[in-house]
């Protein structure tokens, strides 16, 4: 299949323009509505063409869609029954399947007979013999058995679908487009709305129609293979049997599929039925269901607002239909899922691209080309809008990239808000906030397959999509967040990476550790690069609380030598953490620890002053602190003194041998 990108060449553009102009000349010309004689102005032809295409195409498609649905939903759609002898496909197919089933049963009978003769699992074999006899009888009546179930479901469906889907909506659209809209350029936005609305409605009609059509065909197939499926009941459950009778030819799968395909039409019919009631209410008196649409203003005439308002009223039954369709698919189990996946992939995905591409051609370059060119412009638009909202310079590539990243962050936060919302949250699975989208999964897979060092990533990241970059960065963060942060080129990049670290938070305990390390880095190691942002506040990480909880190894790995000199940080360390730093830390870290007990060093003086300050507050409480606050300060003072004593004990120079006592 030719990708849309390749199709959208200059030749294609010229051809499309010619079609539009031709439509402007030969179809109901826009110009003709404005003046009595056909205009000679090519601009009028172009506008007339757009006008005609926007009007004629959706109406035609909509009518075809409605017709298709009414055709498949009516009882006359298939003139033959699903199980009767009037259906040549089922009759002949079922005959062949029954013969095959009989052959299988003969094999089964031989196996049972041998088992009984040689006494191998005789009891089981005798039980199987009873089953065998029953099945041998039943396979001759499978159309009858299946017919009862199918007829029951069809009866219910037909009672709900009697009268089909009324053409109220199509009429409303036609009236609105033909009579409701004023002539002129101002009608084009309204036409675009009609266009999109009509196409979506048509797709929905087609989907329902397709569902009913596929249901019939699938039921035929299931009835045809039913003797074989029944015959498999004789055989014991075995993976070999399942290989011989795959998919719906095996009883379990057949039964599940049969029930699902049979009842699948009922919720669909119910959705259509309820939607019809809503449409009827709107036709009778729209005000009884929805209030008037009042969006008129400088750029929207009241006439157009009225037309669009009536159209929007029809959105309610359509949302009903739309949701009903997906509920139907979900209630259809594996069958529905398969159908839904196929539709999502092949119909909705492609149709939405086509719709937005076509709508974009009329409404503007950015939207249309954005969708049509495989999301390239969408990325640009997202980047620009996101960048503007995040107050970035959207004229630069970097600014737009930051905008795209900000957009990802907002999306994630929105998901989290939904999950934590009081009512909607209960209806939403908790995985909603953390479940990866398809694009994210693909990007993660790509990053996994094409590993890159951080250095290479820095060089080649501009070749990757935003989602791929996010996937790579998530990988680096989870592997070694400190390394990821420290390989950034400058302040802006460092802060962007800190933002990335915060954005990928999956609320796990492991990620809390990652965030703690990152905040430690920003607070004590790369203070300048980290900028004015208070990363502790932004991340929700309270370092004084988290540092003591870090394992000694994690702390020794992530702590910088600069951090050691910070009295607050020092006060939050445990002695075994200090021990680890002393045992495994760098020489620089060791020097910093020594500095704390060497009185002439600024670090030591700073720590002394801090301790004196703490003691002063504890003793005099000049600021009238609460007992809890005083207790906290006492703990800090104690921790500092305990840690100092510990360092001194391990680093204090030992006296020379001469001072030691020697006894034989």
């Amino acid at each position: 299949m030719i990708p849309f990108k390749k199709l959208f060449t200059k030749k294609f553009a010229v051809l499309a323009l010619l079609i539009i102009v031709a439509a402007g000349i030969f179809l109901t010309p826009f110009a003709a509505q404005a003046v009595s004689l056909p205009s000679l102005n090519p601009a009028d032809w172009l506008l007339g063409g757009i006008y005609s295409l926007l009007k004629e195409i959706p109406l035609t498609i909509l009518q075809i869609g409605l017709g298709f649905l009414n055709w498949t939903a009516s009882g006359d759609f298939i003139k033959v029954s699903a199980t009767g002898t009037d259906n040549p496909v089922v009759t002949q197919g079922w005959g062949i399947a029954r013969d095959l089933a009989n052959v299988a049963l003969i094999f089964g009978l031989v196996i049972i007979a041998i088992s009984i003769i040689i006494g191998y699992q005789e009891t089981r074999a005798k039980k199987a013999l009873v089953n065998f006899i029953l099945i041998a009888i039943l396979i001759n009546f499978t159309p009858f058995i299946a017919g009862i179930v199918i007829d029951g479901a069809n009866l219910l469906m037909r009672s709900l679908l009697s009268g089909g889907v009324p053409a109220d909506f199509v009429n409303a659209v036609r009236d609105g487009m033909t009579n409701g809209l004023p002539a002129g350029v101002e009608a084009i936005p309204a036409l675009v709305i009609f266009f999109i609305f009509s196409i979506i409605a048509a797709i929905l009609y087609f989907l329902y129609g397709l569902l009913f059509m596929v249901r019939y065909v699938m039921l035929w197939i299931l009835v045809i293979v039913s003797p074989v499926a029944f015959a498999t009941k004789v055989f014991p459950e075995s993976k070999y049997i399942k290989r011989i009778f795959p998919s719906i030819t095996y009883w379990d799968d057949w039964w599940e599929s049969f029930i699902q395909w049979t009842v699948l039409g009922i919720p669909a019919a119910l959705s259509i039925y309820l939607s019809n009631i809503l449409m009827k209410v709107i036709v009778d008196n729209p005000q009884s269901l929805v209030s008037s649409f009042t969006a008129s203003g400088e750029f929207l005439s009241s006439a157009i607002a009225v037309v669009i308002g009536s159209l929007f009223a029809y959105a309610i039954p359509f949302v009903f239909l739309f949701m009903g369709f997906f509920i139907t698919m979900d209630s259809g189990g594996a069958v529905g899922k398969k159908f839904k996946d196929t539709i999502n992939k092949n119909i909705i995905g492609r149709a939405s691209t086509a719709i937005t591409g076509a709508a974009g051609a009329a409404t503007g370059y950015v939207v249309g080309r954005g969708k049509a060119l495989g999301g390239y412009a969408k990325g640009g638009v997202v980047g620009t809008v996101g960048g503007l909202a995040a107050q970035k310079n959207v004229l630069t590539k970097q600014g737009r990239e930051e905008g795209r990243v900000a957009w990802q962050g907002w999306k994630q936060r929105a998901k989290e808000t939904i999950v934590s919302a009081p009512v909607i949250g209960r209806m939403t699975p908790v995985e909603f906030a953390t479940t990866q989208t398809k694009a994210q999964k693909e990007a993660a897979e790509y990053a996994k397959k094409n590993k890159m060092t951080l250095e290479d990533y820095g060089k080649f990241k501009h070749r990757l999509s935003t989602v791929q970059r996010e996937a790579y960065e998530e990988d680096y963060i989870k592997n070694n967040v400190t390394k990821f942060l420290n390989s950034s080129g400058g302040g802006a990049e460092y802060q962007a990476r800190m933002d990335t670290v915060m954005r990928h938070d999956d609320k796990s305990k492991e990620y809390e550790l990652i965030k703690t390390k990152a905040v430690l880095d920003a607070r004590y190691k790369n203070t300048t690069l980290a900028g004015p942002t208070n990363w502790e506040t932004k991340s929700g990480i309270d370092l004084s609380d988290k540092i003591p909880k870090l394992s000694s190894k994690d702390l020794a790995d992530s702590v910088s030598s600069e951090a050691i000199s910070d009295p607050e940080f020092f006060a939050s360390l445990r002695t075994n953490q200090i021990k680890k730093i002393m045992d495994e830390g760098s020489g620089e870290k060791m020097d910093k620890l020594n500095d704390l007990i060497r009185v002439s060093t600024p670090a030591s003086q700073n720590l002394n002053n801090h301790l004196i300050g703490l003691q002063n507050i504890i003793r005099n409480n000049p600021n009238n602190l609460s007992p809890e606050e005083i207790s906290l300060l006492q703990k800090k003072a104690l921790a500092i003194q305990g840690n100092i004593a510990f360092i001194a004990n391990r680093t204090n120079p030992r006296p020379t041998q001469r001072t030691r006592v020697r006894h034989p």
């Binding site: 305990k509 492991e510 000694s552 445990r574 002695t575 009185v599 003194q641």
Partner: protein
């Protein structure tokens, strides 16, 4: 390699120093330092206060002079380290303490007795290495991504 005393033993020695008033002279000679030793400070606080606020100690630290030159507690540390490294025996303790600290026989005997009664020192004397007796590593490590070692079964389990 010589063993050095554990941090807890160091605290124990600091408590002995306080109990027998071995370092009272520091308080008498340095009013500034005394102002930091108010109430009933813990052993760790006393050690830290000495290091941070006592001018003689600070002088030693400045010049990198061993603290055992001036501090009785550090002299006791040297004696206990000799003990755990089995350079001296328990019977030698009273004499060693007396010689190091220059104190009466009676006090040195009592200090020796206190040291002999300390189980941790006895363990450190017997063991090859001095085990640090800190709070459990896992106690504070509420969140850690350090993978725990895989549990391996015994030979019989593996054969199964």
């Amino acid at each position: 390699m010589e063993k050095i005393i554990s941090f807890n033993t160091r605290l124990f020695i600091e408590d002995i120093t306080t109990k027998y008033g071995l370092e009272n002279f520091l308080l008498q000679n340095d009013a500034g330092f005394a102002s930091h030793i108010v109430g009933n400070p813990t052993a760790a606080e006393r050690i830290a206060a000495k290091l941070m606020f006592n001018k003689d100690v600070k002088n030693c630290l400045e010049k990198n002079i061993p603290l055992a030159e001036i501090l009785p507690s550090e002299k006791l540390v040297v004696v206990v380290e000799d003990l755990i490294n089995q350079k001296i025996g328990y019977n030698d303790l009273p004499i060693a303490i007396k010689e190091e600290l220059n104190i009466p026989d009676e006090i040195s005997s009592q200090i020796a007795q206190d040291i002999a009664n300390n189980k941790k020192i006895t363990e450190d004397r017997i063991n090859e290495i001095v085990k640090e007796d800190f709070e459990e590593e896992t106690q504070g490590s509420e969140f850690s991504n350090t993978p725990s070692p895989e549990k391996t079964g015994g030979l019989s389990q593996e054969l199964q």
